[in-house]
């Protein structure tokens, strides 16, 4: 028998706007509205692999390293009906071999839901049809996947990476506002811990974004408290105010950490810029001296022009390398999360034939500035023997 589950779809306005459902285009492939009555929305073929970590797809790297690991495609459909006091509807989930074979599914599931305009959502009547090994203990996980699909469709994700759904969970049998508030508080604490322990290079963008991220969460928490806690009840009021203060304190700590790192980072950037300026002047002088034929006057004619150009290029690259590296890693982290994640795990994976090759390549790519210095050395050696 299926259980009933509850959750909250974040809305800082305190009101779900039916007309904005499905406007989060990143996660949706197809939106259909009934123009005749405007009280109906249908969204088809939502690729869950893109929007959530609730069902784990694999990166191409995992498939290469583990031949037994197969990737399956999970897609969802949803229909919403606008009613006077709530939004009702149902959602379906299908797991198939790939996108082209949706009709030959391994797992098909359906759930009904009701969303109050304050964001409170109730799931019920979960039906599962599958020929694979399945136990009722998975019900809550399947219901959570439905929650993620509906939440992404109705709300979008502006304040965190769309794949990381660790801030909000669902509860069984009853709606528990204090559990939701606690989840928010714990999530903010985790962000604060992140800021302190994150790698300052690839996490730079995440660190800077975290200040805005917690402000976003705070706005939702404020609305959530207004909507679901009776402030006329003194006991509840005291409990909620206490939790709000704790959350505020964690946010202050997080912001202080970010600002401290910004100061340190600006200091480092200023140093690097100084170095670059120094070498830029050095190179300019080189060119100027070359133009005036100073080499001849100083009896340094044995330095070739090509050597000056190659060496100048690599010197500049060496000093720009760190900012290039951080920028590229940040892009990968946000755009190619699974690949980033796989490479991160690979560093600690036991060596076999394939991972050994990848490890060697990634070591040289990671240390490309030193690798390039060796290349410069080889080029200069060749130039020396070629010229003399």
């Amino acid at each position: 028998m299926s259980s009933t589950y509850f959750g909250w779809i974040p809305t800082n306005l305190g009101f779900i706007n039916f007309d904005l459902i499905g406007e989060n285009e990143d996660s949706l492939q197809y939106k259909e509205t009934d123009i005749s009555n405007s009280n109906y929305i249908s969204i088809k073929d939502i690729d869950l692999n893109f929007i959530s970590d609730s069902y784990f797809p694999k990166s191409s790297l995992v498939s290469k390293l583990n031949k037994n690991s197969k990737e399956y495609y999970l897609s969802g459909n949803i229909e919403f009906n606008k009613e006077e006091n709530k939004i009702t509807g149902f959602s379906t989930l299908t797991i198939s071999k790939n996108k082209k074979l949706l009709s030959k599914w391994y797992f098909h599931s359906k759930i009904s839901f009701e969303i109050e305009y304050n964001g409170k959502i109730k799931f019920y009547n979960l039906k599962i049809d599958t020929n694979v090994e399945y136990y009722d203990t998975f019900q809550e996980d399947i219901a959570f996947i439905f929650y993620i699909i509906i939440k992404n469709t109705v709300h979008g994700n502006n304040h965190h990476h769309q794949k990381i759904d660790t801030a909000l969970y669902i509860t069984k049998d009853e709606f528990k506002p204090f559990d939701i508030l606690n989840n928010f508080a714990q999530h903010i604490k985790r962000l604060e811990y992140d800021v302190k322990s994150i790698d300052k290079c690839f996490g730079k963008l995440k660190i800077l974004n975290s200040k805005n991220e917690v402000d976003g969460y705070k706005s939702y928490i404020g609305t959530f408290i207004e909507l679901f806690f009776d402030k006329n009840d003194k006991a509840i009021k005291a409990k909620v105010e206490s939790k709000e203060k704790i959350i505020d304190n964690v946010i202050i700590s997080l912001k202080a950490n970010v600002e401290k790192q910004e100061v340190k980072n600006n200091f480092q950037v200023a140093f690097v810029l100084n170095m670059i300026t120094f070498f830029a002047i050095l190179i300019s002088l080189n060119i100027f001296a070359n133009a005036l034929d100073v080499k001849k006057d100083l009896n340094l004619e044995n330095i070739s022009n090509i050597s000056i150009i190659i060496n100048s290029f690599f010197v500049i690259f060496f000093f720009y390398y760190k900012s290039f590296k951080c920028h590229i890693l940040n892009r990968i982290f946000y755009k190619k999360y699974y690949e980033y994640e796989s490479f991160d795990h690979l560093k600690y994976h036991k060596i076999d034939k394939i991972s050994k090759k990848i490890k060697v390549i990634s070591f040289f790519v990671k240390n490309i500035h030193f690798s390039m210095l060796i290349i410069v050395s080889i080029i200069n050696t060749l130039l020396y023997y070629y010229i003399y």
């Binding site: 136990y135 070591f363 290349i375 080889i378």
Partner: protein
């Protein structure tokens, strides 16, 4: 002059690579835990059983479909998420 540059850049390059290979490793103290997680990630489909505990770390939770002994079956999964990886 090229030969001097070649020697200097060669020494710095090789020295830097050797230092990064043997000398510095930020996460060495965490290796046992991360090795176990890497093994779960690459070889065990991030599968967890009923007794699994996050031990205070941050994981994304989910379900997955795997093929075992020629049969498809659902499994519960837990994967270190970006927050967890950084801890």
């Amino acid at each position: 002059m090229e030969l001097y540059i070649a020697i200097i850049t060669g020494l710095i390059g090789i020295g830097g690579l050797l230092w990064n290979l043997f000398g510095s490793s930020k996460n060495r103290e965490n290796n046992t835990f991360r090795e176990q997680e890497a093994e779960r990630f690459f070889e065990k489909n991030c599968e967890i059983d009923e007794n699994w505990s996050s031990k205070g770390r941050v994981y994304t939770r989910g379900v997955g479909l795997i093929e075992k002994d020629g049969k498809l079956k659902f499994i519960k999964q837990a994967k270190l998420c970006d927050t967890g990886i950084l801890h």
